[in-house]
């Protein structure tokens, strides 16, 4: 088992991981009705279009919920904070929090995206930003 379980990239989410490789947080945006969709679907659930554009997200949001993942994937690995982030665009995504001790994490805390590499896998991570609670 590796330290990080790498994503198994498919046609429906390859845009996301290409974006991560370029330090960009991307979401699918429906070419028909403009709906933002994450996690991605092959068809827009609102208008039925299968044509998608990609939009870069601001990468700002707040912590909706969070946990400490002990020995993530390998028994000797250091804990990682896993958070469900609610982005200002209204989407939620799971990521990690960096630069903060678990004792200091609060729901509603403002965070911003950065990109980090763990065991050769590049991932979006979030870090607290000034501005306090959402």
């Amino acid at each position: 088992m590796p330290r990080v379980i790498a994503p198994v990239i498919s046609r429906d989410d390859e845009y996301f991981w290409k974006g991560v490789a370029e330090d960009r947080l991307l979401a699918r945006c429906c070419a028909g009705c403009g709906r933002l969709q994450h996690p991605p679907t092959p068809m827009c659930p609102k208008c039925g279009s299968v044509a998608w554009d990609v939009r870069e997200l601001a990468g700002a949001g707040f912590v909706y919920s969070w946990i400490v993942s002990q020995h993530p994937t390998q028994s000797e690995d250091a804990p990682r904070v896993v958070a469900l982030i609610e982005l200002d665009e209204g989407l939620r995504l799971v990521s990690n929090l960096a630069g903060i001790e678990p004792a200091d994490v609060r729901n509603g805390m403002r965070v911003g995206v950065e990109f980090g590499e763990i065991d050769g896998v590049k991932l979006p991570q979030f870090r607290p930003v000034t501005g306090g609670l959402s």
Partner: protein, 381 residues
């Protein structure tokens, strides 16, 4: 509208022992449980013409037919969603009987989930599209995935892990007087719960997590009319439904506006109450799926047994124990009896209606088996 009321009945139940190392193949466990259920109903293997199991069950329908001696089977189906689909198994079987697709349907679920493939280990399910968004971040076990949902519930309503412990103590008390239960004669105190090690601090301790078990269970479903002529008292399927909603995972739903709620169970509850004309006060006992103890809290609220955020007081006030207003998981649940993916909960529901539970609720007429995104309501026919 959900399944037509009393479209079918449960005429037989069967199981193997529940253990941590069965010492035999999963197919053998399935065959033993199925044979026992057919015998319990007073039927023969050749009477069976339908089979239902979960998509995740390892036992092939044809291999089971060859083993048990079911000569001709004209209906098979499988339910998705793992344990969340445990009550949906009954819905599938009842729908097949009601539609005339089969006369006698056997439901089975058997696995070596402790000595073989353990669901709780990191990285299970890699490659499933939804898990791509969780596993790389170290959200790599069911306990962690569920805790990310539970944290919002705890934060919203002000719960601590001790509140969850009060459920576990009751489940283990029920298991302690159930000879079928792995934890038979082994009750715990709240202190024991609080001394068990953290799995996801400060949300889940070890004793909040369901067991890992080896074993098999089976049920026989046929028409209510035919069931009344068979060996056992008929247990009617008063209501049965699924509760799948957009954007949800099997049970948790990170993308729903309010993670302090359980939209799948709320939808299933609406279907159950509307299709049966019953209400929470009509339920004599409830078997509630709990891969982790907090899932009970969400479901008590989703079905309206108490208000949102009130499950901790409902439990602390003694409602869910034997003698309470709504005894819950009288067999000990998946924490206390065994983890047979929730299907063992339905067997306990049947025993309660028959009046044969080790922890019998006096004169139980209506038992709800809630598995989050699926549910069945059993009655005495």
């Amino acid at each position: 509208m959900a399944l037509r009321k009393e479209a079918a009945a449960i005429a037989g139940i069967g199981q193997t022992e529940f253990s941590k190392n069965s010492g035999r193949s999963e197919l053998q466990l399935a065959a033993e449980a199925v044979r026992a259920a057919i015998n319990d109903a007073g039927l023969e293997p050749a009477d069976v013409d339908g089979l239902v199991t979960m998509t995740v069950d390892p036992n092939d329908e044809l291999a089971l037919m060859h083993s048990v001696g079911m000569e001709e089977v004209r209906w098979t189906s499988r339910t998705p969603f793992g344990g969340g689909g445990s009550s949906a198994l009954v819905e599938h079987a009842a729908a097949a009987v009601a539609a005339g697709a089969a006369d006698v349907v056997v439901i089975y679920r058997a696995f070596n989930e402790r000595s073989g493939n353990r669901f709780g280990q990191p990285g299970q399910g890699q490659g499933m599209p939804n898990l791509n968004w969780y596993l790389p971040y170290g959200l790599d076990t069911p306990a962690k995935m569920y805790s990310l949902w539970f944290q919002r519930y705890m934060d919203t309503f002000g719960l601590t892990n001790e509140d969850f412990g009060r459920y576990t103590v009751i489940a283990r008390k029920h298991a302690a007087s159930n000879p079928n239960a792995w934890f038979y004669q082994r009750p715990i105190t709240l202190e024991d719960h609080q001394n068990s090690r953290w799995i996801v601090e400060p949300i889940l301790r070890l004793l909040d997590c369901c067991q890992e078990s080896d074993g098999g269970v089976a049920l026989v479903v046929t028409s209510a009319e035919r069931a009344r002529d068979l060996r056992q008292p008929a247990v009617t399927i008063v209501g049965a439904t699924q509760g799948n909603v957009i954007n949800g995972d099997t049970i948790f739903n990170y993308y729903h506006p309010d993670n302090a709620r359980f939209p799948q169970a709320e939808y299933a509850a609406r279907q159950i109450w509307e299709s049966t004309g019953l209400k929470p006060a009509d339920i004599d006992a409830a078997m509630i799926y709990e891969n982790f103890s907090p899932v009970v809290f969400y479901q008590l609220e989703a079905y309206g047994f108490c208000g949102l955020g009130e499950a901790k007081d409902f439990i602390a006030d003694g409602h869910i124990g034997l003698g309470g207003t709504l005894p819950v998981n009288t067999h000990g649940g998946l924490l206390g009896e065994a983890y047979i993916h929730g299907v063992n909960n339905i067997l306990e529901g049947v025993r309660q209606i028959r009046g044969t539970s080790a922890n019998q609720v006096p004169d139980a007429k209506h038992v709800l088996c809630s598995a989050g995104p699926s549910a069945v309501l059993l009655g005495n026919g």
